[in-house]
Symmetry: C2
Subunit: 318 residues, 2 copies
């Protein structure tokens, strides 16, 4: 079975670990969000791709969900001593090596997709990890800071400002001019199932869908497209999806997210057992829906979620 | 008193520490060799400038004479895990930060001289540190490897091959097209004394002199030019000056190095007490010479050497 998964960072990576356990023989292609990518200290940092790579490759800091395990911060301390910023993005020494290798390869002319493949040769994530695009797309968030409207990089909004102010708009800068990375459309065309993990529907999956051609390829694949709600009981399980949904005028509710994707894209939707009341609303919107436990508390629970998603896909197919 | 010092790495840096102790009120400008510079992992590494900066700024690894104190090697280990080379150049995590800052600034368009000044704002070396040039000059060494003549980067010759094969030629690639960095000619024109520390006469001081205009500016400054022999008892105190001297057809002897510089450039020369027999030969070549202890065993011994050099300069001037 060929499964294509659109993934953001932590939520997507953890779901993928469950999916691999649930479908060990499946051929899994991950289309990773690169809208969070940022240049720091002249180095290209791809937080979501790295989170997927480190998580599936056994190098992730399990507690925080991003960055490397057994990490040290000598480089960061030195950069601070040089007075070179920003200091709000916590890059560790091990993590720096990844960005150094990536930046060197990009500088040598390799596209991000080739670089990602090369990095994955070490990590062996057990999935094919593709960036959504080789082009530069950067998610910017419009905010009101001290009475002035400003656009900040998504990482600045999320990491520096800790999503403490309202997001007025979310713009994936460069998305309109971007093309899907090599392999993305092919993977979708050959997929048996497409899954949306409980990733942020705006700045993770929404950004991937903003790359011209990807949404269409999913819709035209003619295979079940099943998503898992990142909203449980009216709040995001983690992260700031509520702020992002508000910015695009969507209610922070499991049903509202499904309707935002729409029945033209989504065939099936899993909501958490706590949101069983949302099932009827989602189904009324033409999307098959089930309520199951959606908390990725451990690998077993996550694998069970993946099995439910695959079962719903089979139900849709039948 | 305005002193200009042409410096390589370890020998130059240690001598400068002694000079600062010997002449605490002097205004010292250091013209640093950049022929050893190398691009590693996409980062610009300037070993000699950094050795001077770290040594005078209190950040040097005293035992090895280069690199940072309290160093760790997480980034290096990770690069190795990625299979990315070379692995023979031992960059530590703290050191990496310097190269990251430098590379970012160069990428932003700053010349190396401005970058060096910015880095020195942190280190406060107590001297004005100038690269010999802002242009790219790279010292290559011709060697015979397995019967084939090859040109290797100086760092590859010295660090990877450990100078274990003969150097057939030494070429400062790019030197002919290079220009002295801003401030270099001005410092020489305003100098009261010019000193050549016991640095490598070929790949350190020789490379600096290969930048068109620098040798002429020293000769035309009309002030005492005094050097200290890096050769003691027919062998280099440290490093591979013997191999480099052979490559350019100069005997590994204190007198031969003075004669190589020549009386047109050099006014005074200090040889070690062990080489007292060389004094007459050097003086016969028109260069005033004295035999004094030249082992930089500690700060006091090094300061005494600097005082001898300044005393010889005054003798020349009188």
């Amino acid at each position: 079975m060929r499964i294509v998964v659109l993934a953001g960072g932590i939520g997507g990576a953890r779901f993928l670990r469950g999916l691999k356990a649930a479908a060990p023989d499946a051929d899994i292609t991950v289309i990773g969000n690169t809208g969070d990518d940022i240049h720091l200290f002249g180095l290209k940092v791809c937080p979501d791709l790295d989170t997927v790579m480190y998580t599936l490759g056994g190098g992730i800091n399990e507690e925080q969900g991003w960055g490397r395990t057994d990490e040290t911060f000598q480089v960061k301390d030195e950069l601070k001593a040089y007075g070179v910023g920003p200091d709000w993005f916590g890059l560790g020494d091990r993590d720096f090596a990844t960005h150094i290798v990536r930046t060197q390869m990009l500088g040598a002319g390799y596209p991000l997709s080739a670089v990602t493949e090369a990095l994955c040769e070490r990590w062996q994530p057990g999935v094919r990890l593709l960036p959504m695009t080789d082009d530069r797309v950067e998610t910017h968030v419009a905010v009101d800071l001290d009475g002035e409207r400003r656009a900040v990089h998504f990482q600045e909004y999320w990491v520096r400002l800790r999503a403490s102010v309202d997001a007025l708009a979310v713009v994936p800068v460069g998305a309109e001019q971007s093309k899907p990375a090599p392999g993305v459309l092919e993977a979708l065309a050959e997929a048996d199932v497409v899954l949306f993990p409980p990733s942020n529907p705006v700045v993770s999956i929404g950004t991937i869908l903003a790359v011209p051609g990807i949404r269409e390829a999913i819709a035209e694949a003619g295979v079940p497209v099943v998503g898992l709600s990142p909203i449980v009981g009216g709040a995001p399980v983690r992260g700031m999806a509520d702020k992002m949904l508000s910015a695009i005028g969507v209610e922070t509710a499991a049903a509202a997210v499904a309707e935002h994707y729409g029945s033209g894209l989504l065939d099936g939707w899993l909501v958490d057992s706590a949101d069983i009341g949302a099932v009827a609303e989602v189904e009324a919107a033409g999307i098959r829906c089930r309520a199951v436990p959606l908390m990725m508390t451990d690998l077993d629970a996550t694998a069970a979620m993946a099995r439910e998603a695959l079962a719903l896909a089979e139900e849709v197919r039948a």
